[in-house]
Structure formats: C-alpha cells, structure tokens
Symmetry: C2
Subunit: 291 residues, 2 copies
C-alpha cells in the first residue's frame, strides 16, 4: 500500500478539496426516515458518504459515539470504515489511543488492522515507546498517524500550553512528533505522521506549523466549534498542502443550524449537507490562495 | 450506588488484599483446552476469576486486547465485566480515554454506562473540560476514575517528567487530579477520583503520594514490568489504604514464568495462577505493615 501521506496529497489534488467530514452519529439528530438503533446510524452514514463524496477527501468517524452503542456500534464503525473506503474516501479513525508499549501494540493492531482505517489519531502522553508500536504498524500497512499536539478545546491550555524550558509543551510535542515522523516520509515529501492542531487556536497553530515542515495537520474545530476558514489558513503550507480540515456537526447535521436551517430546513436536509460541504471546501480553498 | 472509593475501601478490608488482576487476553498463551476465538477468551477469563477470587479485590480488563479481536472482542469485554461483578469483584476498565468535552461525554457514557465498569482510567492531556464529563458521569453512577499521572513505561519521562515551573509535569497533574477529585470524596474520606502511578518509578511515586492525600492510586508495573512489593509500598498511606496494585501477565499467565513454571508447569497452570495471586497479596501486605 502506498504511504498514507502520498495518498492524501493525491486525493487533495484530485478533488481540489481539504475537507474531512467527521462521522459522529448522534442518534437524536438522525432523520426519522432512518428508523432507530445501530442500523439507522449505518444507513445514515452511508447517505452522508453519498452526499459529501464530491467535496470531502476523507471521513473521520469518532469512535466514542460508536462505543456508546456497545458492540453493535463497533460493527457499525467497522462497516462505516469499509463503505467509506469503497467510496474512495480515506478513513481517519478518531480513536486517540495511547498506552504503554505492549498495550499500544494491541491498539495499533486493533485500529490499523482489525478495524479498517487508513490513519488514526494517537495521544503522545506516554512518550516515544508508547508511539513506536503505532509507527511500526503504520509503516508496515502504509497507514498514517495524527499525534495530538494542540487540541481544540478551551482547557487544552492547562497542560498543553505549560512552559517547558522556554516553550509551551505543545511546541515540544510538535518537535517530538516531527522526529517521530522522519522515517515515514513518502514520495510526496510529506510524512505519514501528522499532528492534530485545533483551528480554534490560530496563533499556536502558526508556531506549530513552523516547527513541523512537511507534516500534515488534521485540523478540528471548524464550524460548530467556532473556527473559520481564515483561522485554518495558517495551518497550510505554501502551495495549499500540509493540512486537512474537519467539520462534524456543521456538515453532518447542517440542516439544524444557520444558514442552512433557514435556507433548506429539515425537509431538504440532504441539500443542506451537500451544500455545507461544498461551501466549506470553497471557503477553505479561497482562504489559502493568497498563501 | 455507594461511591466507588467507599466500595473499594470496604472490599480491601474484607479480603485483606490490595491486588488487582489485569485481564489482558493474549490468545497465544491461553491453554489449548479452551479452544480458540473470542469464546476461548471469555471462558479463560471466567476461569481466572474463579482462581483469583479469594485474593484479588478487583480486575482490570485492558480494552486494547479486546478491541484487537473486533466487535466480538468487545462482547467478550462486556461479558467479562458482568461476570466479574457477579463474582464480587470491582471492575476497572483500563480504557485510558480522553477527548474534547462533547466526545468525552460520549466516552463516559460508553465506558461507565453501556459497558459495565465500576471505574475507568482516563488521560488528562485535554485538561479540565475534557475531564468534567467523566466526573459528572462518575458522580451520577457512583463510579470511579483513575487519571494517568505517571505511567509505568520508561519513555513516560519524555513528557511527564518535563519541568513546568519548578516541578515535573506529573506533580502538576497530580495536583490537578487532587482538585478534580474534591467533589467525589466518599464517607471513607477517599475520593473516587484516583491516579495511575507506575510502581516502576518509586521516587516519583513518593512525591505524588505526598501531593495527593486521600486519593487512591492504581499501581501498574508489578511483576512482569519489574516492580517489587517494596517498590509499591511507597504508594500506600499509613493504615495500608490508598492504593491497589495491578499485575497482569505475572498472574494470568503465571505458569509461563519463574518461579511458577518450575514449581507447577503448564499442566498445573491453575495452581500457578492462584498461588501467584496469593503470594502477591501477602508480599504487598507484608511490605506495607511497617508503614
């Protein structure tokens, strides 16, 4: 399998899009026509895949929302990953796993082999030996990793912004992540080891960008969490590569929020989903052109 | 439901034990009589529960080893939790989850409600707003949390030992965790919000112990990872409370290692499991008496 970074660069160019759609099923928001239970989640996800296919390069199922449904939810997670791949999306499993070496190996096998994701998110708190098993499995499978460097939530500052020898911890973790990715650089020049960098912190994102050339950012926080296309622009490198931007609720449940609730309403929810993804794609592309 | 901390203190006194057995199924080590596949894991776990019932107060299934088996593995995880509770054990789900608030809420529901654990391990990297949903769910359910303060792996020093304003990050996280637990103090005086503190770092553990009075430590690293009863003694408070100690491979697969491999061998593996748990219990009790 071609390295994840190269596959991502290729599909970004093909689709002229940097959009990732977060598949975080909230059963209470799924249209009634899908019924209820795990099957409704799968069918709804399948419909979202169809609606955003032209505008998104990847999907990012957040596994917490599937775990909440118990083992049948994990079946839906696995089947959602498979269908997304079949539809030509890259799949980023948002699992944020991290543990001691023996356990990290089991997690790497679980989320890059048993469950069919192209990349996953991982937590750096354990240090290098907790990352090594993920690196080894990613290398073997042509898969990718996104290390949590600066998360999008307000309290991320409490630990991630602490000063560690003249720089914030998130810059230190960015430097560590840069090193961890050195052995997984593909033909595109990008490494398959990237970083999660919240768009809700644009000043920090700019500094992390400088510390991690030729590393791909997975940028959450767009839309429902408040970040705009201008906020995410700083996460890209000249040439318009180096980042993909995730939106979850603001696309998947677009018809519940302005301006789509007024323009389409619940009856035309499909149009709201497709149009919100299209506009997000174009807003981001427009914001990064001057760079 | 009575608060987790009070239930733990009670069972420690009843069984005169501080032993937690880690149920980390390694299919390649399960005796052939159990067959293969997820069913073998469940039946083996059930037998381990029977063998260590007299000596262990809690079990700690490490969910990575179940996720590696896919959705049927998660069924085994859930059923293992149920059977352990039915057998009178407390169940600590070793899930190490952590995320932004909306997702943390979904994880809290998944691992303290959908899956039947009495307590879970959580990752502090997101800060307070990523912990709040776990606190709220734990309070509602009488459940417990163990926050990762200092993990047992060698590379834990790379981030967790960084100096943050005159103290290592793990001491800062210990202080934060102490505060997070203030609202969940039970009748025993102990909080249901404890800390994961690796026995492989006794000097750091002593300092964390001082920073977190009346907080319960979940101590990994005993046995296969090299920590001894003397190393874990520092994690307890005077009176012999304040910590429980986990062993996984060194109990569950005791017959594969010295001295049990020589004394019992594979044919008498049941005796090896029970005896290793009994000896662990007594060694820890002996080590904490002088304190």
């Amino acid at each position: 399998m071609k390295p994840f970074a190269d596959r991502l660069v290729e599909i970004v160019r093909e689709k002229a899009s940097r959009v990732v759609v977060g598949l975080d099923p909230r059963p209470e928001s799924i249209p009634a026509e899908f019924g209820t239970g795990p099957r409704a989640v799968l069918d709804f996800n399948a419909e979202i895949l169809r609606l955003v296919r032209e505008h998104a390069v990847a999907v990012k199922p957040q596994i917490a929302f599937y775990e909440r449904l118990g083992p049948p939810g994990l079946e839906v997670y696995a089947e959602t990953c498979r269908r997304a791949r079949d539809a030509g999306f890259l799949v980023i499993g948002d699992v944020k796993r991290g543990d001691v070496p023996e356990t990290a190996k089991a997690y790497a096998e679980a989320h890059l082999e048993t469950f069919p994701a192209d990349a996953i998110t991982v937590n750096p708190y354990f240090g290098r030996d907790g990352i090594d098993p993920f690196l080894a499995t990613a290398k073997k499978r042509g898969a990718g990793l996104f290390v949590l460097v600066k998360t999008s939530n307000p309290s991320s500052k409490e630990i991630q912004d602490l000063d560690v020898g003249g720089k914030p911890l998130h810059v230190k973790v960015a430097e560590m992540t840069f090193e961890w990715g050195a052995e997984l650089v593909g033909a595109s020049g990008y490494s398959s080891v990237g970083a999660v960098v919240g768009a809700t912190h644009p000043a920090e994102a700019a500094r992390i960008r400088a510390a991690m050339p030729m590393r791909i950012f997975l940028v959450p926080g767009y839309g429902a969490q408040g970040a705009t296309a201008a906020d995410v622009a700083v996460c890209f490198e000249p040439g318009g590569l180096g980042a993909v931007v995730n939106a979850s609720r603001s696309v998947v449940f677009a018809w519940e929020r302005k301006p789509w609730s007024e323009r389409f309403g619940a009856a035309r929810w499909r149009e709201a989903v497709a149009e919100s993804a299209r506009v997000m794609k174009e807003e981001i592309n427009a914001a990064i052109i001057p760079r």
